[in-house]
């Protein structure tokens, strides 16, 4: 298949369409506006629906409405807009609606800025909205990887009946890369496969099959049962859906942990350090919920590993998962930029060299 040079946001949007998404609801916000722009032109070509909502709050509730019919639905936004979506995301999780949500992260808190950032890790993987819920959350580190994840995102969302979140820093959406675009998937709503969906129940049909898209369980017992059911699904997702990458970790004495674009910068730093004879490797979670704790421990908790350097464009949000997973087994150093400044390879190299020198 031929490689095409595509901007990240447009490639992700096209991949969503190829994965069967036919409904997009969103609201313009930098640095992801190219996604709704692309969708507005492309959806009519495939018989789909693009609708510009009055707010991110409305957009995620439109997702709730369309996903409830069994359709494949997607919305995208950037950090402040994703904060507005949190109410609806919690409702989607509670009502067990499969859908895909893109967060093209920019600097925060508040209005922050419009540059790329990784500051919404906690919001994405530790909660965001109210209640005990999780989202299958992926942090792609290249445009191709974002496309590849998109191609199975709806299937995972439908398998577990939970929303999928993309945590993509702004660079993924804004950069152009050569990509291989997969073939179009033929998706049609099948009421047999989605018996919970609103597909036209009528009086006289089996009452158990009436579509009720709902997250309220007013009495204590039924809410407990509902939450136990959700937790069982999350346990299954934890067991089956962890994704990660090891880069030159086999003989590494120092391991860098990083996600998204930062991990790519770290790879260059690793290659350059290895030329100087410093044995460094990278552990990169691709699924950040579920976080691949076991794989990280297997990579890092080995005799020759002397230390871990966690690098992020935030104040150390994933660092908490690194610490949680390693349980104090190895010394961990953190290097981060706030706002939206990305670390350079030299900065990362310097941090590793300082660790090596015991500074």
């Amino acid at each position: 298949m031929a490689l095409t040079l595509m901007k990240g946001s447009e490639a992700i949007a096209e991949a969503a369409i190829r994965a069967g998404a036919r409904f997009f609801f969103g609201y313009p916000i930098t640095p992801q506006t190219e996604i709704p722009e692309y969708m507005s032109a492309r959806m009519p070509e495939v018989g789909g629906c693009f609708l510009q909502a009055e707010s991110e709050v409305a957009a995620i509730n439109m997702v709730y409405g369309a996903a409830g019919t069994g359709a494949r639905v997607i919305t995208s936004s950037s950090s402040p807009g994703v904060s507005l979506k949190q109410e609806g995301i919690s409702y989607c999780a509670g009502a067990q609606l499969p859908c895909v949500i893109l967060n093209v992260m920019r600097g925060g808190p508040g209005l922050g800025n419009i540059q790329a950032s990784q500051g919404d890790y906690m919001q994405g993987v530790k909660g965001g909205g109210n209640g005990d819920y999780h989202l299958l959350t992926y942090a792609p580190s290249s445009v191709q990887e974002a496309i590849d994840i998109m191609m199975f995102a709806f299937e995972k969302a439908e398998k577990y009946r939970m929303p999928v979140l993309f945590l993509a820093d702004g660079i993924i959406a804004q950069m152009m890369e050569p990509v291989e675009m997969p073939e179009m998937v033929d998706y049609k709503v099948d009421p047999e496969k989605k018996p919970w969906a609103c597909t036209g129940w009528k009086p006289g049909d089996d009452p158990a099959k009436r579509g009720v898209i709902n997250s309220i369980y007013i009495d204590t017992e039924s809410l407990s049962i509902h939450n136990e059911h959700l937790q069982a699904i999350y346990a299954e997702a934890r067991a089956n859906e962890q994704m990660w990458e090891n880069y030159k970790t086999e003989d590494a004495e120092y391991i860098i942990t990083a996600f998204g674009t930062v991990a790519r910068i770290a790879k260059t730093a690793i290659d350059e350090l290895r030329e100087q004879g410093v044995k460094v490797g990278l552990f990169r979670p691709i699924s950040v919920w579920p976080y691949p704790y076991d794989a990280m421990r297997e990579t890092i908790c080995r005799e020759q590993v002397k230390g871990v350097l966690d690098v992020e464009v935030n104040e150390g949000q994933m660092l908490e998962d690194v610490k949680l997973g390693l349980e104090g087994a190895k010394p961990i150093r953190f290097f981060g930029h706030y706002g939206s400044e990305f670390p350079t390879t030299d900065e990362i190299k310097n941090e590793i060299l300082k660790m090596k020198e015991g500074k």
Binding site: Y64, C198, T199, W201, V212
Partner: protein, 252 residues
Amino acid sequence: MSVVFERTKLLTDKQFHYCPGCNHGIIHRLVAESIDELVQEGKLEAGNVMGVAPVGCSVFAYDYFNCDMYEAAHGRAPAVATGAKRARPNTIFFTYQGDCDLASIGTAEIVHAAHRGEKFVTIFVNNAIYGMTGGQMAPTTLVGQKTTTSPYGRDEAWCGAPIRIAEMLSTIPGSYYIERCACNNNANIIKTKKAIKKAFQYQLEGKGFCLIEVLSTCPTNWGLSPVEAMTWLEENMIPYYPLGVKKDKGAE
């Protein structure tokens, strides 16, 4: 023996949880009967109607309407109905919302549903108070009306005068048919049903956004008996919220 009257099929057997004297039960019945009649008349295919319940006293409406139903976040029913209707453009959708849901937290969603001319029906029940949370001031609370958060009576200088939703939405180009009704006597109940049925008929014809505002009593939170509450509605609400058609593009 022939059946000359039976319960509407569009209501489940679930017992309503509403307080004595509350109008929700009547309004539910009118919505269900209107849909049922359209099915019987062969205008609407059985199973091709879906609804969206709000947050508020009618939060459990999904248990009462005998069709596919959504339960939306507070105020978001018009956005949920928008997404669902776009995904099933040939299905008839309705939202059922109270005044706190629609006229307070959900103003953006209802205004923009009307603005886009969304092809669904909204049943808007206005009882001038927050019922489910126990009688707080609503945007529709009358000036001078005492509630648990306006214990000295609503002060216009402090928090404004009540919003007339039907009139406000009728100024939006995308709204198609808007009428305010009440269920205070038999004649008005019949008028309310006619209005609701007409709104659904417009949806079947693919017309724009329709909203029926129904004035309702809340004896529990008004602190009145059901009969006193109905009198209070007639003497206080109807003069401020005049009944009648506010907009009907189909009649123009």
